[in-house]
Symmetry: C2
Subunit: 338 residues, 2 copies
Amino acid sequence: MKQRKIIITGYGTVAKEFVELLDRKKEDFVEKYHTEFKVVGVIGSIGMIYEPDGLNLSVLYNLPKGSLGISQYASMKDLTVESPALKGDILLECTPTNLETGGPALSYIKQALESNMDIVSVSKGALVHSLPELLERANANGCQIKYSGATAAALPTIDIGEFSLAGSNILSIKGILNGTSNFILTSMSEGNITFEEALHLAQEKGIAEKNPDLDIKGLDSACKILLLANGLFHTKLTLEDIAIEGIEKITKADMQRAKINGCEWKLIASAKKQGDKLILQVKPEILTPENPLIHVKGTNKGILFETEEMGTICCVGGASHPKGAAAAALKDVINLIR
Amino acid sequence: MKQRKIIITGYGTVAKEFVELLDRKKEDFVEKYHTEFKVVGVIGSIGMIYEPDGLNLSVLYNLPKGSLGISQYASMKDLTVESPALKGDILLECTPTNLETGGPALSYIKQALESNMDIVSVSKGALVHSLPELLERANANGCQIKYSGATAAALPTIDIGEFSLAGSNILSIKGILNGTSNFILTSMSEGNITFEEALHLAQEKGIAEKNPDLDIKGLDSACKILLLANGLFHTKLTLEDIAIEGIEKITKADMQRAKINGCEWKLIASAKKQGDKLILQVKPEILTPENPLIHVKGTNKGILFETEEMGTICCVGGASHPKGAAAAALKDVINLIR
């Protein structure tokens, strides 16, 4: 029986759902993967709760998220809130994303790699900032970094490249990787409404944030294609290498003109081999009816791999709620032990 | 540096394409997977060619397939055609499928497992006949059995269940797993022609065989869903447990009636949890426009996983030529070492 001790940094919604999933499934995993997974520590802004034999996950899950839950758990179990220390086998990184500096996630990941821990990252910031460097460190220490939660979560993206297309030559990746902008485009197309009206609708439904720039201007999609490219093609590209164009200039007339021919505007993030180079871009494109990504509607996402040996493979769907993201992180945790 | 010695049984088109792919990519794999993959033996009906340090794959690939190629290779390299012996790490099973008895594949696989070899099977027969028993033997000996090539080849099916949905609860699998019957249905729908006309067209194009029963009566789809179900749900079902209905009774009128509502007839192979049971069936179904499988046209294939935690995930595409099947086998070979 193997044992894997997990430390979680950042106890937000996804981390909480992860705790619930692991608590419910850990017995199954003993049988199926011959491995006992334990969360031994959770680190928030106030410090860490740590129990070397594993926290009681059902107790933890029923407490609030964030520092409040951490401090309540500590007092219930008569624990001291310690200063953070990465004592485990796997770091599950869930702190809020900071694209500029990598945020605390970056130093957590570096520390964890120094302690020979594997990494499962749900947050994008540190990876967008420094994935190639982190992968090098991981490699040198015999560790792995997985980050399905940061690249479209429940939709399999990097897995397909890594496992399903292992040994094949991937010529290009094209993805609809941002649910909010796709919801806006779908609403414009189906409701014959303007960009502003569709954005407002998305905000009313809680799909778009008050400041929707990250989604509609293409930066979120750019982060995801960057992580996919650097992971699958072993490039060392940065956000500056990506030509990024958002969806905010698409008009009602543009949309309806495309529809006449059965086409649709979609925000496509792509990585394409061109000679020795890999060209990354994010921009709205008119998809023809033959393109399987044209059927990705609403907040759904999709990814299309063009390969030399296996033809084109398109994957769509995947729940976009926090439980879906938590399940994606859990999948990464399991795949680490294989 | 790891080393993996491969023995190929059955030197047909797919095996030949595998040899070409491995020859072209083996240097890359040393770098990427720190593993040297060698084909040390090829077994055909006349016997085995064997070189413990690896056959010369570029020489082999340029010879004819089948026993002719094997005997030509032997005389070129001054080798004796030996009696078959499974001396390697991985068996790549490519002999012709025999659904009734499992054929020679079954005894090759059993022998290989006894020698603690991992199995990559492209042919379905032995697995359809005895997968649960073979998996048990493999488990007992610490071996793995992979068979992407037998379950829709280049379309990722079992990988998605195994890797991308690891830890999630799969509620159902629905697939369009047979390209020939899907080509016939697409032709009927798009060309407003009868089943017989569409079958004739498929035969003219070399898509359907002279005796097309295996494809149109649903048996091929049944084999694939059986292998997916027994692999992913750890059931011990047999072909007898599947209610199988083919596409041969669908009329032009049926087809056009469905189309009025934007629907399409598709041959769906499904595995669905119902309480403690897993229900397997193959039958033509009318898909509504919301079902992502409705867009699977021509000889394409597709698979839809419904999960508890990750929502629905649909994957379509994958080349259906022998190189695609060989690439699927190569992927399995690589994933064995992870």
